[in-house]
């Protein structure tokens, strides 16, 4: 869906867009991940549906963050980490030699647990990505991208008069939305979120959750969360990880009302011992 605007599409383009909307954004098959000798993920096969929110839940150390980090090759930054299996983004193997990792990480953006704005102004935080990726032709276009990104992240009204103040001066919730604006600014297809609300208060959390729901229209979102209520509130599909395996994946409602696997049942009802 990159760069899709309100322009009129030809019937053929409409067809292609429809097909693209139906096909999963990510197809992953038989993914194994090792940190040195230690196996962190075992044979994970999971499709990430386009324009849906997929939440990954499971106890600490179950591999859900490891899986998330495979989707934009963040694990490459860890020397001892080996990733095996197929991870296809729109049908293309992201671990192939031809894949440009910098470009991949622009297409598959990431938001972390702790808000991590650059120690620069709010404006510069958002314009940095588009600038280095050469997305904007001139200053006017850049201003426009910063404006729409902040609007999409629901932050515009709160910061429009202080664009040149440091991003680190914002509240935690605002900083997290700034990070979302920063991810959105490079026009990604997918946004990965690793515990995006665990450092936020309930009001800031609610704002992020509302935002996730709005962003879903244009982006595919994968969120790792420790809050099952959050997974239930924001996602359409939920995957449960345990001991490096994907135990169960399904419609969020089914997972939380009638999970099929006993381990899922045990975890979500608070019976894990």
């Amino acid at each position: 869906m990159t760069g899709m605007t309100a322009e009129v599409m030809t019937p053929k383009e409409v067809e292609t867009a429809k097909e693209a909307a139906i096909a999963p954004k990510f197809v992953t098959k038989g993914v194994d991940v090792y940190y040195a000798e230690k196996q962190a993920l075992t044979n994970v096969s999971l499709d990430i549906e386009t324009n849906q929110v997929t939440s990954l839940i499971g106890p600490s150390g179950c591999g859900k963050s490891t899986y998330l980090r495979c989707l934009n090759r963040m694990n490459d930054t860890i020397d001892i980490c080996r990733v095996m299996g197929d991870i296809l983004l729109d049908g293309a193997d992201i671990y192939s030699r031809e894949m440009d990792v910098v470009h991949l990480r622009a297409r598959v953006g990431m938001v972390f647990q702790k808000p991590n704005p650059f120690p620069k102004s709010i404006y510069e935080n958002v314009c940095y990505g588009p600038k280095i990726h050469g997305i904007a032709k001139n200053k006017a276009e850049l201003d426009d991208i910063v404006h729409t990104s902040l609007q999409k992240a629901g932050l515009w009204n709160e910061v429009k008069d202080r664009m040149h103040e440091p991003g680190t001066g914002l509240s935690g919730g605002q900083q997290q939305r700034l990070c979302i604006a920063r991810a959105v600014a490079v026009q990604p297809d997918v946004i990965l979120m690793d515990e995006p609300c665990s450092a936020l208060d309930p009001i800031a959390t609610a704002k992020i959750e509302e935002l996730i729901d709005e962003l879903r229209v244009n982006y595919t979102i994968v969120i790792v969360t420790h809050s099952m209520q959050q997974a239930a509130r924001v996602s359409q599909r939920t995957g449960f990880f345990h001991l490096g395996e994907l135990v169960e994946v399904g419609e969020t409602e089914q997972i939380f009302t009638n999970p099929k696997d006993e381990r899922t049942q045990g975890y979500i009802t608070g019976r894990f011992g």
Binding site: Q229, T257, P259, T269, G270, R271
Partner: protein, 239 residues
């Protein structure tokens, strides 16, 4: 019953919910059998006792509501726990209705004791035994989460409906035979209707057993033998 939660007080609350349902069910069973006994013996005193006893069931229903709301608000139960809470809410209101039917049977006993008995009372007593058994079986299935028992109960409702339809015909016939029978027959008709409803609630409770265990209610329509809504009995010698 609930066990093994990491937070023990969650187990305690869920178990308390189950215990109140069991207590309510037990009380409603006794109310129903006492009401039928009073009807059979034309025992007005006992009937009054039954009518007064309904309050206790209503109080327990309020307690279930309170417990369930607090569990939903404070524990955010999921999966089987969630279904347990929803099941308790629904089953408690069904038991409360059965209590009301028992009370209504008891009230009519006072009126029936003042008029001469009519033979269909025996068939009504038979419907009473059948629906009491169904109700007991449904409660047992719910409390012990026994799907086999639940299915049996659900299938017996057919029998109750058929019996109710035949009572309906029998009562109409007696009323036509002699207008002096109308008072007792009309009261008995309401008693029979109450009992038929007890059978329906027993079926619903059995379906809730399926819901709490399997996450879905059984598929497919049950056979329905209640034809009383379409029944016409013509006086002899006409047409």
């Amino acid at each position: 019953m609930a066990s093994d939660h990491i937070v023990k007080s969650f187990d305690d609350q869920l178990n308390r919910l189950g215990n109140v349902i069991a207590e309510m069910g037990g009380l409603a069973e006794v109310q129903l059998s006492d009401a039928m006994e009073a009807l059979k013996r034309r025992d007005i005193e006992k009937a009054i006792e039954v009518a007064a006893g309904d309050q206790r069931i209503d109080d327990l229903e309020s307690e279930v509501d309170h417990l369930a709301v607090s569990l939903l608000a404070l524990r955010q139960p999921m999966a089987t726990d969630l279904r347990d809470v929803i099941g308790a809410l629904k089953v408690s209101s069904m038991i409360e209705r059965v209590g009301d039917y028992a009370k209504n049977v008891a009230k009519r006993t006072s009126a029936l004791a003042e008029v001469p008995p009519v033979p269909p009372a025996f068939t009504v007593a038979r419907l009473g035994r059948l629906t009491q058994e169904m109700f007991k079986e449904a409660l047992d299935s719910y409390i012990s989460r026994d799907l086999v028992k639940a299915s049996t109960t659900r299938n017996r409702d057919e029998e109750a409906d058929a019996l109710y339809t035949s009572i309906f015909r029998e009562l109409l016939t007696y009323m036509m035979e002699d207008p002096r029978n109308i008072t007792s027959c009309t009261h008995l008709l309401f008693v029979a209707k109450n009992l038929e409803r007890v059978g329906d609630h027993a079926t619903n409770i059995a379906e809730m057993t399926h819901f709490v265990v399997e996450g879905k209610t059984p598929e497919g329509e049950r056979a329905n033998n209640d034809e009383s809504s379409f029944t016409v009995v013509r006086p002899a010698g006409i047409d």
